[in-house]
């Protein structure tokens, strides 16, 4: 801008601003004020017009309804919920259900996607072809149809609840989903969880120490095995110390349904499987392109230095590949999270499903939709921030 000012004919000396439209700097400021003004005007018009129309038709506004009793049931919930609770709590149940399917989905899709992506590059013709068939089929079918397919597979393909399949004692598979025995409540299980966390932290500490020692002395230390021992060993020790309880809560058929144990509902199964397999196909392509992006010369150079296969992948190929993989991977995570709103179609109570019921019972569509948008925005931005942080961390530091 500054250079432009200097070269423009008849422009004032740099530093002074003339209030003439022939001055590009002044002109640019005027344009920007006008555009911002127009945006504000349109926004103000839309909001005031909406409020005016709502008031004219005496439609309720505001978020007070969140404190009212919801009075509708929800099929599955991570926290205690009954129809006596408020709309606010019902919405929280929906948010948690969305997070549950998104987090598990992201983890599984990353694992499956990485395997398929690497498999597509396999020198084994059969494995490579199977992987590309998977990618091409799954990627080209709309996710909603896939959800219907998985849902129908459970509700039409499995036997009714009274003739449930019983492959292992205590495990039941029927149209109502999968029921498995879980350990009966005991304080030991909480302590084991704490022990697991301690183990993870300790394993991380050991690996840091081992790396520092190797850098100092050149002596490698089997940090992987030691860490695994800590993560698995500590909880087992806690369990033994707590008297090794073995009592199980086994599902039983009582009345209409199984009671006891833990269950995976057909709705959750369908939405998780559908989203995971769909997104995994895209992640496979991301992983494949990332690995392809690393020049073959890098592998040859690593071999020339005498690095064996696994460290070559871990220390040379992956750090360079991840640079290419992480940004598109972030969009896939965002897609999976947003696609979870398709749950509405198959009856999984995600946040859109519950917010829709709420806005329908209260008639406050605008408030409900802003809540849906706000929540997705927060979740998506959190994923983006985390992935950007991770991307920076793994970025190659050029020396």
């Amino acid at each position: 801008m500054a250079t432009e000012t200097r070269t423009t004919q008849g422009a004032p000396p740099p530093g002074g601003v003339s209030f003439s439209l022939s001055d590009p700097t002044f002109r640019a400021i005027v344009y920007q004020i006008l555009v911002v003004g127009a945006v504000v005007l349109v926004g103000w018009f839309l909001i005031s017009n909406t409020l005016d129309n709502l008031a004219r038709r005496s439609i309720a506004t505001g978020y007070h309804f969140l404190e009212r009793e919801a009075a509708f049931g929800i099929g599955e919930s991570l926290i205690d919920y009954s129809p006596k609770d408020t709309y606010g709590r019902a919405f929280l149940v929906g948010v948690l259900n969305t997070l549950k399917v998104s987090i598990i989905g992201v983890i599984l899709a990353t694992i499956i996607g990485t395997i398929i992506g690497v498999a597509r590059l396999s020198s084994n013709w059969l494995i490579a072809k199977l992987a590309s068939t998977y990618v091409e089929i799954i990627r080209n079918i709309p996710p909603l149809l896939q959800l219907f397919f998985w849902y129908a597979l459970v509700s039409d393909g499995l036997p009714p609840v009274r003739q449930a399949l019983n492959p292992i004692p205590g495990v039941f598979l029927s149209q109502r989903g999968l029921r498995v025995p879980v350990p009966a409540p005991d304080p030991v299980w909480t302590n084991m969880g704490i022990a697991l966390l301690v183990g993870i932290v300790a394993a991380w500490g050991v690996s840091r120490w081992a790396r520092a020692r190797q850098a100092r002395t050149g002596q490698p230390f089997p940090a992987g095995w030691a860490g695994l021992g800590l993560i698995v060993g500590l909880p087992i020790l806690t369990w033994l110390a707590g008297g090794a309880p073995l009592a199980m809560d086994v599902p039983k058929l009582a009345g209409f349904n199984f009671t006891g144990g833990a269950s995976i509902s057909p709705e959750f199964f369908a939405i998780l499987t559908g989203l995971t397999l769909y997104t995994a196909a895209f992640i496979a392509e991301v992983v494949r392109s990332g690995i392809k992006a690393v020049n073959w010369g890098q592998t040859e150079a690593a071999r020339a230095l005498g690095l064996p296969g696994s460290p070559t992948l871990r220390l040379v190929i992956l750090p360079q590949a991840l640079r290419v993989i992480v940004p598109p991977l972030t969009s896939q995570y965002l897609n999976l999270t947003k696609n979870s709103s398709l749950a509405l179609a198959i009856g999984y109570p995600d946040l859109v499903s519950i917010a829709n019921t709420t806005l329908n019972q209260t008639g406050q569509a605008i408030e409900g939709v802003t809540m849906i948008m706000g929540t997705y925005l927060v979740i998506s931005l959190s994923i983006s921030i985390f992935m950007n942080w991770y991307n920076k961390r793994i970025a190659l530091v050029e020396r």
Partner: protein, 339 residues
């Protein structure tokens, strides 16, 4: 200048939008040439396209009746199929002029949802349907059952209330589309399907693979007065819808049907003369043609004809008049006087 154009455009938007907001629904409808009516996408007997693609059903006939009252033509109406969740935003935003979609009139909907309910066109109540082979005889035996229900309905709330009141638990499977709810029930995902009794009858007749394998339990757990609805803020439009419905009921009281309506045009009865517009005044009061009620009866029929054609004993739904009989025959159908 570009930004000058922007400002002018913004001003134009302001002016035009406020003009639309202020226009009366009747004028808008007349200018457009048809009534835009929100109906159920697939509920046999109430709102359902037949095999030829023509919309049929009791709710659909009331859309047509309003079109006849305004234009004298039962085909000057377009239908917007709406899910239970879409229906209120659709009528609030003006996407449809009239919501005739087996909608229960309630206090919340009348007030904070911003609707005005016309007279009830079908008195219904919520019931339960179960597969015969479960051997269930009463809704009180449903403790612990899995229940399929459509989201965004009063049904969902009544269900929760009923189980709470009777100290029972249930596991809801809540799905948005009516078709998917039915599919889940018939596949065996749920033990129970719940909706209005008329809806259960329609589903059993039209959707069940073997209708006789399913029974509707005797308990009716709620009052569901189904009524067409319009937006708050346009009294003339509300009056037209309201009196179109009363006209079909009044015609049945008079014994006037689509077949014999022409004979009544010579009637000496002043009530009938006012009703059919042979002595003018009623049409002008509503802002309609004086023959509006004549046209409604002639082209759509009286309430009995509409009922029998869509849901009555001669149809697959096989519903009795019950509460929907005229008040003179022990029912609740009662038209306010045409004078």
């Amino acid at each position: 200048m570009k930004s000058g154009f922007l400002a002018a455009a913004a001003a134009a938007v302001v002016v035009s939008a406020s003009a639309v907001a202020g226009a009366a629904t009747l004028d808008t409808v007349k200018q457009r040439g048809f009534v835009q009516c929100g109906v159920n996408a697939g509920l046999p007997g109430f709102g359902n396209p037949d095999s030829a693609g023509n919309w049929t059903g009791l709710d659909v006939d009331y859309c047509r009746a309003v079109a006849v009252a305004i234009f004298g033509d039962a085909n000057k109406v377009k239908f917007t199929p709406l899910s239970a969740q879409q229906r209120f935003p659709a009528i609030q935003s003006g996407e449809v002029d009239l919501l005739s979609r087996n909608t229960t009139a309630t206090l919340t909907r009348d007030t904070s949802v911003g609707l005005n309910f016309a007279p009830v066109t079908y008195y219904d109540g919520q019931g339960f349907m179960v597969p015969k082979k479960l051997g269930v005889k009463s809704a009180k035996e449903l403790n612990g059952a899995t229940v399929c229900v459509q989201s965004g309905t009063t049904t969902e709330l009544n269900l929760a209330d009923y189980f709470r009141a009777n100290n029972m638990t249930y596991n809801p499977v809540v799905i948005e589309s009516n078709d998917e709810v039915n599919a889940a029930y018939f596949a065996g995902r749920c033990d129970v399907l719940t909706t209005d009794v008329s809806g259960l009858a329609g589903t059993r007749a039209g959707v069940a693979p073997v209708p006789d394998d399913h029974v509707i339990l005797p308990e009716v757990i709620s009052k569901e007065p189904l009524a067409p609805a319009v937006r708050h803020g346009d009294d003339q439009w509300f009056d037209i819808v309201k009196w179109t419905i009363f006209a079909t009921i009044q015609a049945e009281e008079f014994g006037i049907t689509s077949k014999n309506v022409d004979e009544f045009t010579n009637s000496k009865n002043p009530d009938i003369q006012r009703f059919l517009g042979t002595s003018p005044g009623m049409g002008k009061a509503l802002g309609l043609d004086e023959k509006w009620a004549y046209n409604v009866v002639k082209k759509v029929g009286n309430y009995a004809e509409i009922f029998d054609r869509n849901v009555g004993p001669g149809t697959p739904l096989k519903l009795e008049r019950g509460l929907n009989a005229l008040w003179t025959k022990g029912g609740l159908m009662y038209a306010q006087p045409f004078r």
